[in-house]
């Protein structure tokens, strides 16, 4: 994605994408991250216990209930940004 995202926005994007089990490669491709940054963000989210990691055939990351709670809080805060006037009109 072209644009300047904050770290919280990137966490949110990863957690939303990982609602289904995802591999590392698919995460960095989908969330437009390089390998190093992807590892940092996933390590952080794992440390905060927002992701469950399974190492079967491929290592996969899945958002757990704590991660889903973060997604809900984030959704609420960001939707509020556009809930209030004024908006931008032509």
């Amino acid at each position: 994605m072209k644009g300047r995202r904050t770290q919280y926005e990137i966490y949110w994007e990863i957690l939303v994408f990982c609602r289904e089990p995802r591999t590392f490669t698919s995460i960095i491709n989908r969330c437009d991250l390089n390998s190093k940054k992807g590892q940092e963000y996933l390590a952080f989210l794992n440390k905060k216990q927002y992701l469950d990691i399974k190492e079967e055939k491929n290592k996969t990351y899945t958002t757990n209930q704590s991660g889903r709670d973060y997604i809900s809080i984030f959704n609420k805060l960001y939707l509020n940004l556009f809930d209030e006037r004024p908006g931008f009109k032509l």
Binding site: G3, Y8, Y70, I73, N75, L77, F88, L90
Partner: protein, 214 residues
């Protein structure tokens, strides 16, 4: 979809459309500025060359280069913004019918809009200044042309000369108004998003707390 999300959906749709519209107008104005600037300069070069008035030629060439350079910079900047807005518009439209759009879909679009503004903010601030300057320039040019036309009118200009004079004046003042519209719309967009970015920073404190600190 709840009333709140319905309202937010409509607001996002309206804002994306408005941003796309003002950016297209901006692109058209930039192209016109380049054409007019180069035309004015080159229309001075040939008569000056024929009259042997060599002093005017380098000055006219400089005006053409400056006008062309500013317009090219402006076009490239606007195309960059248009590309980003177009991507967001495509992504929003790909969400499908309003009823099938979820809160996560809307939040994704909001994240993209905010991220785009953070990235393009310096360019947008510059375009605001340039379009304001363009508005003033064309307004002053229109006044000067109106005065010149008034003198010609007193001398008894009529027929096609009268019509083309009036049309020329209308075009110049319309361009001044269009530049001013672009300036005001980008100013409005910037003001709204600056406020959202500020509010977003406060939201980050809540997110940080929810994560138990970083």
């Amino acid at each position: 979809m709840t009333n709140k999300t319905n309202k937010i959906y409509n607001r996002i749709e309206s804002e994306i459309r408005a941003l796309f519209g003002v950016t297209v107008i901006n692109l058209v104005m930039a192209a016109l500025l380049m054409a007019i600037g180069v035309n004015i300069a080159t229309s001075q070069i040939i008569p000056a060359f024929e009259d042997g008035n060599w002093i005017i030629i380098p000055f006219a060439v400089m005006v053409a280069l400056v006008a062309g350079g500013i317009a090219i910079w402006w076009i490239i900047s606007t195309v960059g913004v248009l590309e980003s807005v177009s991507d967001i518009q495509d992504q929003f439209e790909s969400l499908g019918k309003k009823d099938s759009v979820t809160e996560i879909d809307l939040t994704q679009t909001i994240v993209r809009l905010m991220a785009t503004y953070r990235l393009k903010k310096p360019k947008i601030k510059q375009m605001m200044k340039v379009s304001y300057f363009g508005s003033i320039l064309f307004f002053v040019g229109g006044i000067l042309q109106a005065l010149a036309f008034f003198v010609q009118y007193l001398d008894g200009i009529e027929g096609l000369g009268l019509i083309t004079g009036i049309v020329g004046l209308v075009v110049i003042f319309c361009m001044s108004a269009a530049f001013f519209l672009v300036h005001r719309k980008y100013e409005s967009y910037s003001r709204v998003y600056d406020k959202r970015i500020l509010k977003n920073k406060e939201s980050e404190k809540a997110l940080k707390e929810s994560m138990g600190g970083l």
